[in-house]
Amino acid sequence: MFFYYCDLAWRSIRKTPMLSMLMVLAISIGIGITITTLNVYKTMSYNPAGDRSEVINSVQLWSQGLDTWDDFISNITYMDAMNLRNNTELGLKAATYRTGLAMQSDNLKIEPVLQGVRVTDRDFFRIFSVPFVYGSYWDASVDLRPAYQVVISQKLNLRFFEGKNSVGKTVFLDRKPYQIVGVIDDWNPQPKYYDPLNGAFNDAEEIFIPFSLTGQEEFDVWGNTSGWKFEPMLTYNDRLTSEKVWIQFWTELNSEDEKQSLQGWLTRYVEQQRTIGRFTDTAKIPAEAVQISDIDKWLEDNDVVPKDNKILVGLSLLFLSVCLVNILGLLLTKFLKRAPEVGVRRAIGASREQIFSQYMVEVGMIGFIGGVVGLLWAWGSLTALHSYFAMEQSVTGLDASMWIITPLIAISTAVLAGVYPAWVVCRTKPSVYLKAQ
């Protein structure tokens, strides 16, 4: 019976080609726009941490003075970062910021490249589950006593070492020799959740060096530095001893107990810092002057999904509903026009369910075609977004879930639009249309 209905639906669609095209156009454009905005929204709001979202936590401190910033700032000061690194109660922990260095190898034929560099501790690799191809992260001692060691990406390894195991080899960063201890596999979480502050969809760094080198190497900060009070910044040491915030701090908390104990430690820390004249905003009690954010909260607080995108999702859903009403009206007129035929079918013995099914199959077919065309629209518009608006590939690539969401939206739209007309038409009284019209 289903194939019979399909056959009838296809004939009916072909019989009024303009109207059918109009309906397919309406539904496909509505779906195309919705899928486009939804796709961008979905990829932007994706949480790459997955089930580790609650385990991975960052720390924020209310180190600002009275009447300065209204919110917690994502970054913390160097002083606080160093103190947190020395907190032996914590399991995995890593301070991190971004810099840039020119990389070269012994092979002078290969041109130097200026690279974004992540300065961090060894636990960073474990907290964020960074996969290694060769070697591993540096030894724990390096976090305490600086050593010129480096972890590079497989891509750089290919460029400088033809992809061979380069552990133990030397590369030069700003002409300083660093010993390679590990090569990581492709790793580029999107959004870049470990540091979304300067472009949440930028690529991950490909060079990682020990945080402990910061003091002696005085790396430039390629990220936000914010301050709330005037401090002369004449030397790098001024930066390290200032109240300026520029470092992210990450830790792994495996249970509520661990979280509570960190909360307690931080509270005591704030109290202790107040005695030496820091954390001067006494409007905040120490327990409120600390914040532990898991990945969900962190992504939310850092506005990884721009509000424009949320508005677009809302408007495109409204747009889809206009298309839906539009199609509903067209289907209703179309179906009512066929009431005489329905009368005949009913007289001949079709039940209401059979008529209803016949028309729902037709509606479903329009929805299906609309969905397919809509997916094409979405693909086209995402490609356009990528090429004309320099949107990142990671956001404009069609998310796998869209292959499920699109038909779902298409069919539910069509069904919503079709149920009423099909219901009206299946209620046709068989006797009404049988007399010579």
Partner: protein, 402 residues
Amino acid sequence: MLHIKPILSSLMRSKSAPILLLLQIILSVAIVANASFIINERLSLMQRESGYAEDQILTFSVYNFDPAIDNIKQNEVDQLILRALPNVIDASYSNMLPLSGSGWMDRWVDSPNEDTAKSTPGFAFYLGNEHLLNVMGAKLIAGRNFSADEINTNLGDSGMLALVSQPLAKAFWGDESPLGKTMYQGDQTVTVVGVVDKLQGAWIDHENFEYSVIQNIDFGGSSSNKTYMVRALPEHIPALEEAIRKALNAENPNRVLDNFQTLTELKSLTYSNHRLMATVLSIMVVLLLLITALGLTGMVMFNIQRRTKQIGTRRALGANKRDIIQYFMVENYLICIVGGVIGGMLALVLGQQLMSLYSLPMVPMIYPIISVIGLLIVTTLAVIVPAAKAANISPAMATRSV
């Protein structure tokens, strides 16, 4: 004479179709009003005068990775080389690039006494030498530029001078002239020596976007990573990148030159989200009107087919073609106006939601009104074709049984 009453009662009797049309118009007005408001807002953001000679400025970054390089000296030498290049009007170091989305923000206070001091609003904090103003193409409207011998190389130096943007001067000093005022940054004093007509900062969405300060510090020696701005006529800019690379690499090859961009390109990139929003919403509005119009045409066409006999009867009873067209137009306008009023209210409600959720400004009344008018025009176009076709139905239809 418009016979509204019979049309109205006929509409009331055939419930579902007019209700659907009404619903569609309500939603359309709500969407179009809000979308066009946002579009207009974004377009006006993009059309703001920046104060810069945008198409004459080429920006780029230099990274001297050789620790042996003396950055202070190198900075001086590089700028001399840049200014000496053919076709270059002027060149200067700048600590930040205008309209780029990243840079320095700072504020001053007007007294050394922390307790009584009044703070200026935050401003974009440009550091540069006496050439910077000329490179930017900004217009000095009062006071003077720095002279070559007044340029400092460090933040801690004494003898700090500043140029302020007119909007900042207005915001802090009102009608009083800021020239000669002494401001404080910690223990340091800064004297305002000039006012620049317009000088936008780096953050296009910041409320203090128009507030800027240029201070007399050539900070290019402070780090190995720095940005330069070079001014040349637009026709000379394309060849400039190659010339700059050649000249600077000849001087010292141990560096990376990167991010060559004109200020126009930089601005366009920074505004790309706004442009994207405006474009997407415009497309949405156009498609929405198109779909509404086509849907309406389709529906009217079907209705006319269904009412062929009725129309024929009307014609036979003496209705002329104009009456028939008028019938459909009035029917359409009735729905449009009712839908428009409800849709307009919905638009305002929706606008209020957006306002509270995303701190957008409130949709002004004019947008729903314009949307309704736009919709009236579109629906007129959509109805007139099938209505004219209906008017051509022969009165003989009345007597024919189809």
